[in-house]
């Protein structure tokens, strides 16, 4: 190769660091005029190249080269050619000095890399804090029945939210444990968002019908059990929760519960025991037909199905909760209740609404405790903890003292809770609530507790009757 043959140390250095690779140079189509060019010719050739088909050259050799260069494809070989012909001896390493072009290129590359890296980092941080979790990590589901726990777990596995899982599991419990809950009941849901430190209470407890009066309840309620029925809130509560926190479609959430009713489940110990307890009591024929076939309570472990509930849930999954609150089911429920001496009407269903509210809360020994507000008795838990916090209970405190203080504190809390009611109907409830939430009040009540002697509740505060065993 011509360049290598006459290479001086400087030129060798120059080619060795040439940005053009060897293969590119050797693969270059050789031209007959391809000789080692003098520096000035090379310079002129480059100048021609810049001019492309600009002005005509007077030198035939240069013109020929220029013309052939126009035919060359634009490629790395093209670049190689120019470098080859422009090689000349230098007295210093051209790469050690600042080259404006190289510096600009490097700056662009570095800037681009840094910008890209910064962008990716910011995007990752945003994703970590605000995005959906990309890894299906830890979680736990607890319910009264194994079948419903598995179902809730399954919802989480399908990327459903915690609330989706809770809705399906709660509806499932209404199927498998109809003695504790169901579509004809109500309840309350507390949802806490750890990241946002935000908590909401969805109260879907039953409400009293519009036509109910105190006097009506003075009758024999065994003969008129319809009077005991409040407006069911279960489905509206579940739907409200799904609107706020649902991730998978309502239809899927409800259908998964419907599948349990359709495909069957095993009678649990608790359900079998509850049925055994009512077997000999006065219950309606409809109840007996449904739960006590042949007059016998099913034994635990027996397979059971609820195709009736499956049909209802399927309809609610497809048509929404209007099926329950303003459809044929509404008419049916109202007429059934009225036939049992009740006063529930279709309008009561139409007027029913859930309550979305903030929880009541306190700090207890470095922990933030959140409970459902009045008319729920969660406030009573706060009162008990307010009293107990002053005792600084640890595992070093003797059990006798811990038990005694706890018993007396809960006694006081129960007494105060027995005076609670719905604050939307009685503003004076707010005063009771404030008293129960107050740490100062807790301290005063603590001073009334004798460390070595139990007292009846009247020693601490007045109380009202509590219904035994009511949920």
């Amino acid at each position: 190769f011509a360049v290598a043959k006459d290479a001086t140390p400087e030129t060798t250095l120059g080619t060795a660091y040439s940005p053009v690779d060897y293969m590119s140079i050797t693969s270059f189509p050789r031209l007959p005029e391809e000789e080692v060019m003098q520096g000035d010719i090379a310079y002129k050739s480059r100048k021609d190249d810049d001019n492309v088909l600009g002005e005509q050259e007077t030198d035939p050799d240069i013109f020929l080269r220029s013309a052939r260069l126009q035919r060359l494809p634009s490629s790395a070989s093209d670049l190689a050619y120019h470098d080859t012909v422009s090689l000349r001896e230098t007295t210093k390493d051209p790469f050690t000095q600042d080259c404006a072009c190289q510096r600009d290129g490097l700056s662009v590359i570095i800037t681009a890399c840094l910008t890209f890296a910064t962008g990716v980092t910011i995007a990752l941080i945003i994703q970590i804090y605000f995005g959906d979790p990309q890894v299906f990590h830890q979680g736990a589901v607890v319910t009264d029945v194994a079948r419903c726990t598995s179902l809730g777990f399954e919802v989480l596995g399908k990327q459903g939210s915690s609330v989706d899982a809770a809705i399906t599991a709660a509806l499932c419990l209404g199927i498998v444990h109809p003695h504790t809950s169901g579509l004809g009941g109500g309840g309350v849901m507390l949802v806490h968002d750890i990241r946002k430190n935000e908590t909401r209470v969805i109260d879907f407890r039953e409400t009293a019908p519009a036509a109910i009066r105190d006097g009506l309840l003075q009758t024999n309620l065994d003969l008129n059990p319809g009077l005991l029925v409040g407006v069911p809130g279960m489905l509206k509560g579940m739907h409200h929760a799904h609107q706020l926190y649902g991730r998978i479609p309502w239809k899927n959430v409800v259908s998964m519960a419907a599948d349990v009713a359709r495909n069957g489940f095993n009678v649990t110990h608790e359900f079998a025991e509850a049925l055994a307890n009512v077997k000999d009591q006065n219950v309606s024929d409809a109840f007996r037909d449904l739960f006590l076939p042949n007059g016998q309570a099913p034994v635990s472990g027996l397979s059971s199905r609820r195709l009736d509930l499956a049909r209802i849930l399927d309809a609610i999954a497809v048509k929404g909760i209007s099926e329950f609150y303003s459809g044929n089911l509404t008419q049916e429920i109202a007429s059934t209740v009225q036939a049992s001496g009740g006063v529930l009407t279709e309008d009561d269903f139409g007027n029913y609404s859930t309550v979305l509210e903030q929880p009541a809360h306190i700090n207890y020994q470095g922990h933030h405790v959140m409970v459902t507000p009045a008319p729920h008795a969660g406030i009573g838990l706060i009162t008990a903890l307010n009293i107990l916090e002053g005792y600084n209970i640890t595992n070093q405190v003797p059990r006798s003292s811990t038990y005694h203080w706890t018993a007396e504190s809960v006694k006081i809390a129960l007494a105060l809770a027995s005076g609670l009611g719905d604050p939307m109907f009685d503003t004076s409830v707010s005063e009771t609530v404030s008293k129960m939430l107050s740490k100062a009040q807790g301290s005063l009540l603590r001073q009334m507790i004798n460390d070595s002697q139990a007292f009846p509740v009247s020693h601490y505060t007045p109380s009202f009757s509590l219904e035994d065993g009511a949920a």
Partner: protein, 188 residues
């Protein structure tokens, strides 16, 4: 009451407690198979029971919700996000209050683990008559301690069923009450 407690991968804690008031509610079943509640019984009215003192704030009014002992409860660290998170619920009316109080004391104050906290024997101070009910898990020696303080103690089989989940940093566990034959917990 029926209970559902969930701590999911979406960093939400959910506690749901629902009921029909009494077992099987009003025992009224619609032709389509819906069992109806008896929630009106949770209101107070004069002469409801013998010698009762009705709560005037819990009187019956159209559209009103009655006093309830449905107590879904959630605990988180007061400062920051690191520490213990708990979701608990309980059944059996007013006995839920005593049950949850004792479980939280065991976990938060006595630093017991969740399983032990739910398994320990529990008591419930009954207001009328003035009696301290203790369940079958409550130790005899502890009954003696309470008797010495002047409590009138009566033992019954089960007071309440408490269920819960606990998260400490990234470890989440679900725990059921060993008194329940059917409750179940799953954790991933």
């Amino acid at each position: 009451a029926a209970q559902v407690m969930i701590m999911g991968p979406d960093d939400h804690i959910v506690s749901v407690v629902s009921s029909l008031n009494k077992p099987f509610g009003s025992r009224i079943v619609t032709p389509s198979g819906i069992l109806l509640n008896s929630q009106i019984k949770a209101f107070s009215w004069p002469n409801k029971t013998h010698n009762s003192r009705p709560n005037p704030h819990n009187s019956l009014q159209p559209g009103k919700r009655p006093l309830s002992f449905l107590m879904p409860t959630v605990v988180r660290p007061s400062n920051g996000v690191c520490g213990t998170y708990i979701a608990v619920g309980s059944s059996n009316g007013a006995k839920a209050l005593s049950g949850i109080t004792q479980v939280l004391l065991n976990v938060l104050s006595s630093r017991k683990n969740m399983s032990d906290s739910l398994a320990y024997g529990r008591f419930h101070p009954q207001l009328e008559p003035d009696t301290l009910l203790v369940d079958s898990e409550f130790l005899d020696e502890d009954v003696e301690l309470l008797l010495a303080k002047g409590h009138k103690v009566e033992r019954i089989d089960v007071l309440s069923l408490v269920e819960g989940t606990r998260r400490t940093n990234d470890l989440i566990v679900g725990v059921t009450d060993p008194r329940s034959a059917d409750a179940s917990a799953l954790a991933m």
